[in-house]
């Protein structure tokens, strides 16, 4: 009897292995949000940071090539356009914006560089070059000079994974700056964000600023999220929905801040 079972198992070992691996994968999927899993993920991410080095190196190299081209153009155009100065001006403006942000907030902000953006077409997460050594913990708000970027999910010693606001499972409690009404915002893969179930009696206009409500343990109040681009007011309905556009461009984002003390 046992011999027979063992022979059957040996006959189907490829399928049994397949079922085993599928079950393991599903189990991992189910423990995604467990803090221990995220902690382990952070530690392993640290070990494999080297896979991002070629990309960082190429980015730096392409930056040098660009600078060289700019300088040659400067010589050729005889001061018609000083490209290097222009680059410096843009960088200066960007850094000024960052410094203003550091000065104008009571929060302890940790600057970080983005070292990887996810590989799927929809960017769900980014990897930052700071970690627990700099005081980062899971579930800290991440923002840029343009607004909310996401939250930290997996933290290693030197790297941190951030769940972007574009992630399908990201929800954010927001309020409208003028009308003061609050709601839960969710994003769609096409980049739109929607706040549903706002009473029809509330007047919301396109262009109105949307900020964090402060009802969250992660996001402080009054951080810019985006602005209203469309208001859908169905006839004979009690609620309206609002479409919001984020000012943060996740494709070009390079520097962010983590709020360490909220």
């Amino acid at each position: 009897m046992w011999k027979k079972i063992i022979f059957i198992l040996l006959d189907f070992y490829e399928y049994l292995l397949f079922i085993f691996l599928i079950i393991i994968s599903l189990l991992i999927l189910f423990v995604n949000e467990v803090p221990q899993t995220r902690a382990l993920q952070g530690e392993i991410t640290d070990v494999f940071t080297f896979v991002h080095y070629p990309r960082i190196w190429i980015d730096q190299l392409s930056g040098l090539i660009e600078e060289n081209e700019n300088l040659r153009r400067e010589n050729l155009q005889l001061r018609l356009q000083n490209v290097e100065f222009k680059e410096a001006l843009i960088e200066n403006q960007r850094l000024k914006a960052m410094l203003n942000m550091l000065d104008s907030t009571k929060y302890d902000l940790l600057p970080a560089k983005v070292i990887n953006k996810g590989t799927t077409p929809i960017v769900n997460s980014i990897l930052l070059n700071v970690g627990s050594r700099q005081g980062v913990k899971p579930n800290m708000a991440v923002l840029s000079t343009r607004g909310i970027v996401g939250k930290t999910i997996a933290v290693g010693d030197r790297t941190t994974q951030v769940q972007l606001f574009l992630d399908a499972n990201f929800r954010l409690s927001v309020k409208f700056q003028n009308s003061r009404v609050a709601g839960i915002m969710k994003w769609y893969p096409d980049g739109r964000a929607e706040v549903k179930e706002i009473p029809i009696t509330v007047t919301i206009d396109p262009g109105e600023l949307v900020v964090t409500s402060g009802y969250s343990k992660i996001y402080p109040p009054n951080i810019v999220v985006g602005e209203v681009i469309e208001v859908n007011r169905p006839v004979n309905e009690l609620f309206q929905s609002v479409i919001v556009h984020s000012r943060v461009d996740t494709d070009t984002i390079e520097e962010v801040f983590i709020i360490l003390n909220y």
């Binding site: 490829e14 292995l17 397949f18 896979v51 991002h52 953006k117 590989t119 077409p121 893969p189």
Partner: protein
């Protein structure tokens, strides 16, 4: 055997580096090719179901862990399925004509991306049709074309 495992692991890391370095440059309309999946298919086709699915699971889990995937375990799941299905072709490729072989390979890629996107967007009110036309199909075609090109050039196992 140990040498083989080390070579496959080396290629695995290389595919992840390729994904990180070239993925953003090869993005067309928000669609990127999946080099890791291509490697899983080749490993499975050349080595069979056992190594194919084990490699798919391992490399998928690594992709999830180092922050390139979506949910932890999702790439492991989808690439295990891809490795298992593609492993069928080991020593059987000659039974199919080239067109049928590539069509079946595309089907495996399609199944892989369908698993990824359906689970990734399970909690989002978005039509399956939109997901299929906007992401699943374009990414299948893009990744599939690169797979076919590499398979044709290197002719890993002649017909």
């Amino acid at each position: 055997m140990m040498k083989k495992i080390l070579i496959v692991a080396g290629f695995g890391l290389l595919s992840i580096v390729l994904q990180v370095v070239f993925g953003p440059w090869l993005t067309v309309g928000g669609i990127k090719p999946d080099f890791v999946l291509i490697l899983v298919l080749f490993v499975a086709i050349l080595n069979g179901r056992v190594l194919g699915q084990l490699f798919g699971f391992g490399i998928g889990l690594l992709v999830d862990i180092i922050g390139m995937g979506s949910f932890l375990g999702l790439s492991a799941l989808s690439k295990t399925v891809a490795g298992f299905l593609a492993g069928y072709f080991k020593n059987r490729r000659n039974r199919f004509n080239r067109l049928m072989y590539y069509a079946l390979s595309l089907l495996i890629i399609l199944i892989q991306f369908t698993i990824v996107y359906l689970i990734n967007f399970k909690s989002v009110e978005i039509s399956t049709q939109y997901l299929f036309l906007r992401y699943i199909l374009p990414e299948t075609i893009y990744t599939g074309l690169i797979f076919i090109l590499l398979d044709y050039i290197f002719a890993f196992e002649s017909f």
